[in-house]
Every structure is written in structure tokens, then in C-alpha cells.
């Protein structure tokens, strides 16, 4: 069974370095196997550009299994492309038609600097976690793991939130470039679990404060983040974050 072949035309953001101005460049690729992944298509393009003596397109990627959170670009206006619940590395060409035109650009936000082409600096997300996205417990001396029972449903809800891969698609999708979904996922996970209780109040205040300081916008209920999230993180977590923040600020 031979796979279907398609032709694709591309318009890709090229930018030499953080300071340089960028622009879109056009490329066309013919006879691509529909079983190919989106990033393999970029590999094919880069092999060609290299052999033609041009610089290949820089893009971030690593595990190519949809879990490391390293990859990501905006494809025709959608972070990670058109397939719901899918990272860019798990997107395959079979979801496109022969002759499709794809505009590919980096995740854009004030808090994400463009390093080169599609590569962005998302260390601001690490900085938000530094502000309190953990339980302050040193190694050693932890009580037996079964000491505190946690209802299965609670553990499952915490896991729903913990599935966030930190890719930044929610920020890129938000018209305000807000990191609310990202922040809420971590706050929610730890607010649900007994281990997160002692720092619950400070965590919500500090992480939101850090997000604001770093230049992320605020949430205005556009719900674009939820639609773009490759891991299906629900905006219910944002509702929980709002409650946590409000309670912490008032009491």
C-alpha cells in the first residue's frame, strides 16, 4: 500500500537573530508522502536548502512524541496547526490537501523573544514556576508515600492539570499573550493535592505576580488557549486560579 503524495507551498518566517527584522519567505515542496510528519516536512525542506547553499530554517523540537514541549509554531494562525489536541511534531501531512498553502510563524508574545526563525525563548515560563510552582520540601525525610490518602478523583483532577507540557501555545493563541492557562495548570494541580496546601496562598499570589511582571497579558475569557492546548488543559483551571488568587488576596 503506497501512501498518498501531496504538494505543499510554504510561507515561513525568517529572522536572523533577535534584533534583526524578519520577513516571510516562500518555498514549495512537491511529492511529499502524506504519512510524513509536519516536522519531517521541515527536515526535507532543510536538507534541500542546505544542498542549495542556503541556511536551513531554525526550529525547536526534540522528543517528537508530543511530550517535551520543545516544538511549536503557528500554522495558518493556529499554534501547533489545525489538529485539536496535537503538538506540531505529532501533526501529519495527511491532514492537509494537495496544493495547500501554509503560513508558518513563531509563537509570538512580548514575554517570548524570537531567537531565530521559528525558535523562541520561553524561559519566562521557567521564571513563573520559580515564583512558586512547587512544594517547598527538601530531599530526605519524606513520610511514607501512603501516609496521606488522596481520593482517586482528586488525584485524577490534579493529573489533568499536571499534563501541561509548557510549550507556550496558550500564550501564542491568546490575544493578550496571557499565560493564565499555564499558570493555572500548576496552581490547580498543587491546590488540589494535600501536599500543596501550606503554600497555597502565596503560590497563587506570587505566580500571578511574576506572570504580570514578565510582560504576559491578562485573561479576558477568549478561550483561545484551551482550543490551542495540545494536552487539552481546561479553562476550568483558570476559574480555579481566579478563586485561589481572590481568596489569597482577601484573606
Amino acid at each position: 500500500m503506497q501512501s498518498r503524495k501531496i504538494n505543499i507551498s510554504l510561507e515561513i518566517w525568517r529572522q536572523e537573530n533577535p534584533e534583526a527584522p524578519g520577513s516571510f519567505q516562500r518555498y514549495s515542496l512537491a511529492g511529499l508522502s502524506a504519512d510524513m510528519s509536519f516536522l519531517e516536512m521541515l527536515d526535507v525542506l532543510n536538507e534541500r536548502l542546505t544542498l542549495e547553499g542556503q541556511e536551513p530554517v531554525a526550529f525547536d523540537h526534540d522528543c517528537r512524541e508530543g511530550i517535551c514541549g520543545m516544538c511549536g509554531a503557528v500554522v495558518n494562525g493556529q499554534p501547533h496547526g489545525p489538529e485539536p489536541g496535537t503538538t506540531l511534531c505529532q501533526l501529519h501531512l495527511r491532514h492537509f490537501k494537495d496544493g495547500d498553502h501554509l503560513v508558518i510563524e513563531p509563537f509570538r508574545a512580548r514575554a517570548f523573544r524570537i531567537e531565530k526563525d521559528l525558535v523562541v525563548d520561553r524561559s519566562s515560563l521557567d521564571q513563573i514556576i520559580q515564583a512558586g510552582g512547587y512544594v517547598s520540601v527538601n530531599t530526605g525525610g519524606a513520610p511514607d508515600a501512603n501516609t496521606i490518602a488522596i481520593p482517586q478523583q482528586t488525584a485524577e483532577q490534579a493529573m489533568d492539570a499536571a499534563a501541561c507540557i509548557g510549550c507556550g501555545a496558550c500564550v501564542a493563541a491568546c490575544p493578550n499573550a496571557s499565560a493564565m492557562l499555564f499558570v493555572s495548570a500548576r496552581v490547580s494541580q498543587l491546590a488540589l493535592l494535600p501536599q500543596g496546601q501550606p503554600e497555597r496562598r502565596l503560590r497563587a499570589l506570587n505566580m500571578v505576580g511574576s506572570m504580570d511582571e514578565l510582560g504576559f497579558g491578562n485573561c479576558s475569557n477568549e478561550r483561545e488557549c484551551e482550543a490551542a492546548c495540545p494536552k487539552g488543559i481546561s479553562i476550568r483551571h483558570i476559574a480555579r486560579l481566579n478563586r485561589e488568587f481572590l481568596k489569597a488576596a482577601l484573606f
Partner: protein, 637 residues
């Protein structure tokens, strides 16, 4: 030089306690006067860096990713073993120890493996305290599953994302130390070389992957937690950037490389679909609990699976291994899959795949039950292949997955270069010739949270506190060598891309140094590798310059090291004339064509010492003695 693993005396169960008591401590007020570099931020690196900082040391973490959370530990699906015996099913520290050392085919140290089993319980406690959302029972206690053929349920898990959750736990601990000012993170920095003076590790030289700037970093100790070298085969389940460079540079600076030929090949991966294929995706081996593996009896049978009648199917694992059937260990399943495909009975477009069929399981248990068990895996498979495993059998094929070999370390996790410590997959220590499922996470975290923080003091107590003492000329010279190496790469300006040459190396190793090996094939590979290396240095094409973000240059640097390392890999494989753990040496088989281990000649760790480009590396043997278990031959008939 003789290898001394510095295994403590005394009964097995007391060794670690005795060793901690015998080790030297650093005064709490002095710890801040010692600086430690950690390279890599996966489970081993992140847990070590966080814990060392908690103790008071000054820690710098270097990662090639944009964030420490990206390391490939994150992709581990199945779970993490621990000897908690929460299920009351007969598990114990000794049983986990025994299973691990037997699974490793008796090629690991008793003392190390026992310590790992002891610490496994502390890991689970620690992770729960961090807020890792492990799966739970209705009553709220932790859930376990049995994994990888173990006869007890000792595997803790967080859906199919255990590695992710454990890594995020360690990453959280690390971020907390960053906030406290105890750790600095140096992201998008690639370690290019190790600075060694007077035989001791003094620091590292890095390249800033954004600007190309080369810089030196001095420290009292260097910790490598840089993962495995599976990508030497080009296609593997490893992340794209996983590489051998850091450990290879350390090897060339005097650290011995142990058992490089011990490579694990996982049986259930999604098959290769074309030349453009960039990596392979693992499907959890739990699928073999209900799936039946088969190929057509006739070679070259191209009919769709549904049209091949029962009588013309060969359920080769069930036929050959009636006792274990489809649940034979990873190496046996992998080897048999390759064998039937080599005989022309493989299926799919490329003929390099076998069926994993759920039709009988669905008939027996119903569609719903099977879907509940494997739904997420079926979805993942369908996302990649566009085929529904409930309608047509899944196609699978083996792929390189994990490397048990790595830098040789003693009981303190210190390499043969004093001051250089090696953790996680990057060292060789605990898995022998074959790693059991759900043991990689356990080892990475044991090394980082509990072992290194307790052993590093003994080395540091010999160094003066204060500024690290590597000389300026040492760093200047090492930087110069790195610059020259990069300039040489950029100057080639040939006609082939990095990936093109890497694919060629990968195919060669897969064909001749994979699951089944023989001396003729290995010799062929040994002759061919220098030619590919020559081709690389004369014909590779790297666009752009070294003073910018240049992903082609990054890959070329890694391939240059893979091309040197491959020769050592094959040399080690050639010298070990026994079938062992993950690999079958064709000259060493039983009459039934099963693996025959040779304890008389090969019950040792093979540690290789670098002796320059012109001389052959020297083999050092660390004998393995078994006082608490009796080595047995595995049998799955």
C-alpha cells in the same frame, strides 16, 4: 591503572549504611564555598542539582534545551519500580534487587543494585511529598501495576506520563533553588569539552547555542547527567538532540567507557515508514499482554491481514516459547521479530514489521474492555499511522531504546577522572546487560536525590574550599581546541548533509551491531566506520557560521563524536564473544538457538581507556562476583 569500584565491606544490606558512615562530610558552613557543575537536567541531573543546592553547595546547571524541563526523561511512559510491597504480593528489597540483577543477565554489581532497590522506596516518598500525582485506588492509596513481565505489582505510575510527572517534580525542586539563589541555570548551552588538570576534573567548556560564544566554567566537581547514546543508530526512540558528546569528551580526557555494546532494543515501536523518517516512537510493551504477535507463514505474502486465514499465520512467539508466549522479555521478542523479517516474512510497505493483533482479545473480553486498557495507546498509534488497531492489526518493529553502557563509575558514582561524577543513563552502573521496564526512572532519581549528595563530600573534602583551582591556561587551551574543532567542521564545505551521513552510520550499526551480532558482520562494520568518518570530514556540508544559532553545526559536532564512538561500540561488541542480556552473539548459542552466556570468560565489566587517536583503547576488566545470588541461565521455553 587498576579499577577499584570501592565497594564497601560487610553484608549486602549494610554496605550503603556503612559507606555513608565511612564517607567524609563537609562542614555545613563550608558547603557554600564549593561549586559544582551539573550538565544535563533530566531526572538524574535535576534531582542532583536541587539536592546539592539544598545541602548548601553552589550549583550551576547546564542544559542544551531552552528549559530544564525538556530533557528526554520526560518521555518515559510506563512507570517507576519500588519495593514498597504495598500490594502484599511478596515483594521486598531483596526481590527487586534479585529481579534487577537477573534481568541484567548478571552483568551488574551486586552492591550497586542492592542499594538501588533500597533507595527505591525513598524515591516514591519524596515524589509524593513534591505533589507528583501518581495513580491512586478508590480508597486513596497509591496504585501499582505489574510491568515488563515482573511477577509482583511494584510499578508506580501517573497515567502514561510517569517520566513527565517525575521530571516536573525534580524540575520544581530545582526551580525552587533557583529562586533561593542557590542554583543558576544556563540554558541553550552545549558542553563541548571537559577541562582536566593534574588528572582531576576542573570544569567544562561550553558553546552558547544562540550566539556561538565559547566559554569556560570552573568548579570543584563536574557532574555529567547527559543521558544515553542510542542516537548513534540514527533512528531510535531517543529525542532528536540526545547525544554522546559530553561523555565522549570525558572519555577522551581519561574517563573509562564501560560496556558500550550493551544497547537495549525495544520490541514494540511503530515501524519505519520512509527515508525521511526522523525518529521512532515507542508503544508501551503492556500491549503484549493482550496482543498476539504473528506474521504470514509464506514469505512474500502481501495479502492484507484480514485475508490471511488462521492456518496460514505463524504466531511465532507462542509457537516457539509456549510457556511465555507473547510475554517473552524484550530482547527475545525483538530478536525474533527481526529474524522473521530477515526471512522475508515481514509485513507492511517495507516488509520490516510484524503484526500485533488484538482481534482475539476483543472476541474474548469485548471491545470496551480492551479499549479501556489501551485506548490512549491506540489513539497515539492511529495519530501517527492513520490505522485503527481495533480494525486491522497493529504493526510493530524493534527500535533502539536505551543504552546500559556508559562511563565507568565506582560506588560513589565517580568516574576514573577524580572530580568527575556520572549519573543516570550516562553511567553504566546498575542495569547490567539489560534494563528492566520501569527501572530507568528509579536509577536516575536514586543517583540524583540520594546517592551523589551522600558521596560527593568524600571527594570534595580533599579540595580546598574557595575558588576552584583550574589554571587560566588550562581553560584557554581547552577553549582553543574547541574553537579549532568547530572551525575544522565549518571548513569542510562538502556535498553531503549531516543527517545523510548519520543515516549511513545508523544503518551500518543497525545491520551489524544490533540485536544479533557475529564476528564477520562486526568486522565489516569496524572496517567501514573509519571510511564513513573520513567521508564526513571530507564531504560534510554545514551552512552558516559558528557565531550564530546554527543547528546544522550542532548536529555535525554530535555526529563527529558518534563517528568516533561507533568504533568503540563495535570494538566492545566484537570482544564480548558471548550472548548476554539484550544481544545475541550468533557464535554463542545453545542447540535450540537461544542465547548462551559465558560466565567463565565474560563475567566482568569491560572498561575502555582512551589512548590517543592512533593507539587502540586499552581494555580493563572489573570482575563481577556474586555472593548473594547464583547466576542462572534464562529460559523462556
Amino acid at each position: 591503572m587498576t579499577l577499584d569500584a570501592r565497594i564497601p565491606d560487610g553484608p549486602l544490606a549494610e554496605k550503603w549504611d556503612r559507606h555513608r558512615f565511612a564517607g567524609r562530610l563537609i562542614n555545613p558552613a563550608n558547603k557554600r564555598k564549593y561549586s559544582i557543575i551539573v550538565v544535563g537536567s533530566g531526572l538524574a541531573g535535576a534531582s542532583a542539582a536541587a539536592t546539592l543546592a539544598e545541602l548548601g553547595y553552589r550549583v550551576r546547571v547546564f542544559t542544551m534545551h531552552d528549559s530544564p524541563r525538556r530533557a528526554h526523561s520526560i518521555a518515559a511512559q510506563g512507570g517507576i519500580n519500588a519495593a514498597k510491597n504495598y500490594q502484599n504480593d511478596g515483594d521486598s528489597i531483596f526481590r527487586l534487587f534479585y529481579d534487577t540483577i537477573k534481568g541484567g543477565d548478571f552483568r551488574a554489581r551486586e552492591a550497586n543494585v542492592y542499594r538501588l532497590a533500597q533507595l527505591s522506596n525513598n524515591i516514591i516518598d519524596q515524589c509524593v511529598a513534591q505533589g507528583v500525582p501518581f495513580a491512586r485506588e478508590y480508597g486513596g492509596s497509591l496504585a501499582n501495576r505489574s510491568f515488563g513481565g515482573a511477577q509482583v505489582s511494584r510499578t508506580f505510575y501517573a497515567r502514561g506520563q510517569t517520566g513527565q510527572q517525575l521530571l516536573l517534580g525534580a524540575y520544581g525542586a530545582l526551580m525552587r533553588q533557583v529562586q533561593l539563589g542557590k542554583v543558576s541555570i544556563h540554558s541553550r548551552q552545549e558542553m563541548m569539552d571537559l577541562a582536566v588538570e593534574d588528572g582531576r576534573a576542573k570544569g567544562i567548556v561550553t558553546r552558547d547555542m544562540r550566539t556561538g560564544a565559547i566559554a569556560s566554567h570552573a568548579a570543584h566537581a563536574v557532574v555529567l547527567a547527559t543521558g544515553g547514546y542510542g542516537n548513534v543508530y540514527y533512528l531510535s526512540t531517543n529525542a532528536m538532540a540526545s547525544n554522546v558528546t559530553a561523555v565522549w569528551r570525558a572519555y577522551k580526557r581519561g574517563a573509562f567507557f564501560a560496556n558500550p555494546c550493551f544497547v537495549q532494543i525495544h520490541p514494540t515501536c511503530i515501524p519505519v515508514h520512509g527515508d525521511y523518517q526522523s525518529k521512532l516512537t515507542l508503544m508501551s510493551e503492556s500491549l503484549r499482554n493482550d496482543g498476539r504477535v504473528w506474521v504470514p507463514k509464506k514469505s512474500g505474502d502481501k495479502r492484507p491481514a484480514g485475508e490471511i486465514p488462521e492456518a496460514e499465520r505463524d504466531y511465532y512467539l507462542e509457537n516457539r516459547y509456549p510457556a511465555f508466549g507473547n510475554l517473552v522479555p524484550r530482547d527475545v521478542a525483538s530478536r525474533n521479530a527481526k529474524e522473521v523479517c530477515d526471512r522475508g516474512r515481514g509485513v507492511g510497505e517495507t516488509g520490516l514489521a510484524v503484526y500485533l493483533d488484538f482481534a482475539d482479545a476483543v472476541r474474548r473480553d469485548g471491545m470496551e474492555t480492551i479499549y479501556r486498557k489501551y485506548g490512549n495507546l491506540f489513539q497515539m498509534y492511529e495519530k501517527i499511522t492513520a490505522r485503527n488497531p481495533l480494525k486491522q492489526p497493529m504493526m510493530i518493529y524493534p527500535a533502539v531504546h536505551y543504552t546500559m553502557g556508559g562511563l565507568w563509575v565506582d560506588y560513589d558514582l565517580m568516574s576514573t577522572v577524580p572530580g568527575l561524577f556520572v549519573l543516570g543513563e550516562a553511567n553504566f552502573s546498575d542495569h547490567g546487560a539489560n534494563r528492566l521496564g520501569a527501572s530507568a526512572l528509579m536509577q536516575g532519581l536514586a543517583d540524583g536525590y540520594f546517592i551523589l549528595p551522600n558521596t560527593i563530600g568524600t571527594y570534595l573534602s580533599c579540595c580546598a574550599p574557595g575558588e576552584p583551582d583550574g589554571s587560566a591556561s588550562l581553560f584557554a587551551d581547552t577553549e582553543k581546541e574547541v574553537e579549532a574543532h568547530l572551525a575544522r567542521l565549518l571548513a569542510v564545505q562538502g556535498k553531503r548533509t549531516v543527517d545523510d551521513i548519520h543515516r549511513e552510520l545508523g544503518r551500518l550499526l543497525w545491520d551489524h551491531c544490533g540485536m544479533a551480532r557475529n564476528s564477520a558482520g562486526l568486522q565489516q562494520a569496524q572496517a567501514r566506520i573509519p571510511q564513513i568518518r573520513e567521508e564526513f570530514w571530507h564531504n560534510v556540508l554545514i551552512p552558516g557560521s559558528g557565531r550564530q544559532l546554527n543547528q546544522s553545526l550542532e548536529r555535525a559536532g554530535r555526529l563527529a563524536d558518534f563517528l568516533e564512538f561507533a568504533e568503540l561500540l563495535v570494538m566492545d561488541a566484537l570482544h564480548r564473544q558471548e550472548s548476554c542480556g539484550c544481544h545475541l552473539r550468533e557464535e554463542s548459542q545453545t542447540e535450540e538457538h537461544e542465547a548462551r552466556r559465558d560466565d567463565e570468560r565474560y563475567a566482568y565489566v569491560a572498561a575502555w581507556q582512551y589512548r590517543g587517536t592512533t593507539e587502540r583503547p586499552m581494555l580493563h576488566q572489573e570482575p563481577l562476583t556474586f555472593e548473594n545470588v547464583t547466576p542462572s541461565q534464562r529460559s523462556y521455553k
